[in-house]
Amino acid sequence: MKKFSLLSIIITAALLLSACAAPAPTAAPAETAAPETPATEAPVATEAPVATEAPVEEITLVVWDQFYRDVESQVMETLNAEFAAAHPGVKIERVVKTLDDLKVTLKLALSEEDGPDVAQVNQGRSDMGAMVEAGLLLPLNDFAATYNWSERFSASVASRNSFTEDGKTFGSGNLYGVSPTAEVVGVYYNKTLFEANGWAVPTTFDEFEALLATIKAAGVTPISFGSLDGWNAIHEFSAVQHLLVSLDYINNFVYGVNNVSFDTAENQEAARVMQDWVDKGYFTEGFPGIGYDDSNKTFKAGEGAMTITGSWLTGELLTDTDQEFGFFLLPGNPDQTRLAIGGVGVPFSIRKGTAHADLAAEYLDWMISPRAAELWAGVGMLPAMPMAEGAAVEVDPLFTDTMVAWNTINNENAVGHYIDWATPTFYDSIVAELQKLFGKMTDPAAFTAAVQVDYAAFLAGNQ
């Protein structure tokens, strides 16, 4: 596996993240960054968190996270060990959950007096919003000022982890969490297949659709996809939707402000594209009966030319496969808005009733430190915060692709949203409606109208 150091990109990323608005030259991609540069072991560029002086009482900090997969888990173990080492007397008690488990048990645990001090709380109304409303989470504004978190995160990123104190308004008010990782939804493609067939990475949506036709004609499945689990169908639809809608619209929609509707021409158009792709056989045969993981398994094994999903798949695509993969943003036509679904991963929050708020805040700060960024990049996950200058991490070209994509959308102020954050029931209703759409049980107009019923009911009840 080819691995090389990618200094310049990472530093650019750092610059971009701290100043999203200021256009900076996009980093020269891989080739110039140099396979020639030997992959030197970077000196540990960051200091461990400042050790507290004087012997302190024994404190156990209970932390719940959802980094349960092997490589991710090791990053957490390392970070926790280093934090504990720098804080004599502090012990970290780590509880690992899957995101599903976390959603079931965290609300209950946070409502108890002996709940976890720090926990990863999923964004959106059904999780973070409901917990804020119930008064379970500590506002982090003061800590953000103390630690200067605004230098690490853009306002757009912070608003994803913000709610007003009553939990009713999403996207503004207090900060309730900080995210260590970033995500961008785009297109993974099988480089091996692309090269063998002479296919080129498309730069407009028209080219993309033409490419789908070409691939189909060559007897290959253009888009590897499975909608059995439901949630990833949202990304399929929403990736196209993001090319058509404005940033204001998607912000308003997700944050539930300014009374926008789901029942719009743009959303109908995205729905129409989905059905068109179904009709033309661009998705894996039998996709309604295939789960997300199974679909990825076959994609990894070399079946299917592309798949539309989030950058979290990178690590998975780098192991146990003889295929080589790349990543690009779903391209838009010049007249389109060209947003991309993206954002930051599940944030760390502090339980309101914790007895160790200051220590917990210090822990949060450590979770989004340059050192953490470096470790996340090392395992192929996009860090949400900049790395230290001069830090060099060995990365794979595929990781570089996702990094470039993430930088691009930040650079162009084109970071969209996961639309299922919009209402507590939105996930369930849009998944059901999308399955109907993909199964040709409904048409685009009826689809957007049905989803709007859920959304309008929520807006009416949230006033």
């Binding site: 959603k103 409502s111 059904s126 409901a130 119930a134 039998g286 996709f287 309604p288 009966g289 295939i290």
Partner: protein, 297 residues
């Protein structure tokens, strides 16, 4: 009833001493939470915040007008076909094939056919998801191998086939169980009843109809109650295989309760659904048991 009479000098409440330890644990850890659930069904509450709002019967009113609940309930009743009726029919057939007298390999068949009962539903669901996988699953590869390509489907994702597919898993789990029940019951049927029927000139099938079936009343009752309760309470299997999809074609009330309580923060509504289902299951079970014991008497 006479058998439960007091012995001379015995306390009227003798039985209570024996009942108390078990009953106490049941009351505290099962019955009390059930009462809380009924209470919660009159509230608007997310299940974890400190405040809850008393809304009387609103949750129940909402439930009656909830198309999803109606759909889920309908699916539960369709599941009775797959969980109860088909397995009982297959079970009866297999039991009568294995015969009243032990035949060679009986233990082997009995053991093998009962296996699905001991697997956890998570394992069953995961296994069947692989079988139904449209690309590499056993079902479609098998159909293709014998030239029946036209029958291949995305089973669990197909709007027509998803419910029968999940139902078929239930059948798979249940038919061996039913067979084993009937087999045990058949061994208690006195041989002379069959001999009498034979003398009357009854063939195999009429013997089955007039001797075997009436004698299996008790087992039929147990099989029916157990499988109907399983069909009305099904949750794990749907959770692991389809999560109610595609659309709402495999939505069941158990999943609706879970989704409302844990994902949508509507414990009050979830409790109302759970209460209605409990009453429904209770009534149906009593009807089946009453019907069975009346026949027996």
């Amino acid at each position: 009833m006479k058998i439960q009479q007091r012995w001379p000098g015995e306390s009227r409440f003798k039985g209570w001493f024996y009942l108390l330890p078990g009953l106490a644990i049941y009351l505290v850890f099962i019955f009390f939470p059930i009462l809380s659930t009924i209470r919660n069904s009159f509230y608007k509450w997310n299940g974890f915040s400190g405040t809850r709002e008393f809304i009387q019967l609103d949750n129940y009113a909402r439930l009656l007008g909830d198309a999803q609940f109606i759909k889920a309930l309908t699916n539960n009743f369709i599941f009775i076909i797959f969980y109860s009726i088909i397995p009982i029919l297959i079970g009866l057939m297999l039991a009568s094939l294995l015969g009243r007298k032990p035949i060679r390999g009986m233990t082997f068949f009995r053991t093998g056919l009962f296996l699905p009962q001991i697997l956890s539903m998570v394992v069953v669901g995961v296994t069947w998801r692989w079988i139904f996988n449209p690309t590499f699953g056993l079902l479609n590869t098998g159909l293709r191998a014998v030239g029946l390509d036209s029958l291949t489907r995305p089973w669990l994702g197909d709007f027509q086939m998803a419910l029968p597919s999940v139902g078929a898993i239930g059948t798979w789990v249940m038919y061996g169980f039913c067979m084993v029940l009937f087999l045990a019951g058949m061994q208690r049927i006195p041989e002379d009843q069959y001999e009498a029927a034979q003398l009357d000139g009854a063939g195999g099938f009429r013997q089955f109809l007039h001797v075997t079936l009436p004698n299996l009343r008790a087992e039929l009752g147990v099989a029916l109650v157990t499988t109907v309760i399983a069909a009305l309470r099904v949750f794990d299997l749907v959770y692991v295989t389809t999560r109610g999809g595609p659309g709402d074609s495999t939505l069941v009330t158990g999943f609706l309760v879970y989704r409302s309580a844990f994902q949508q923060n509507q414990l009050g509504y979830a409790s109302a659904v759970a209460t209605v289902m409990t009453i429904l299951i209770f009534v149906i079970s009593l009807v089946i048991l009453r019907f069975q014991s009346r026949q027996e008497a």
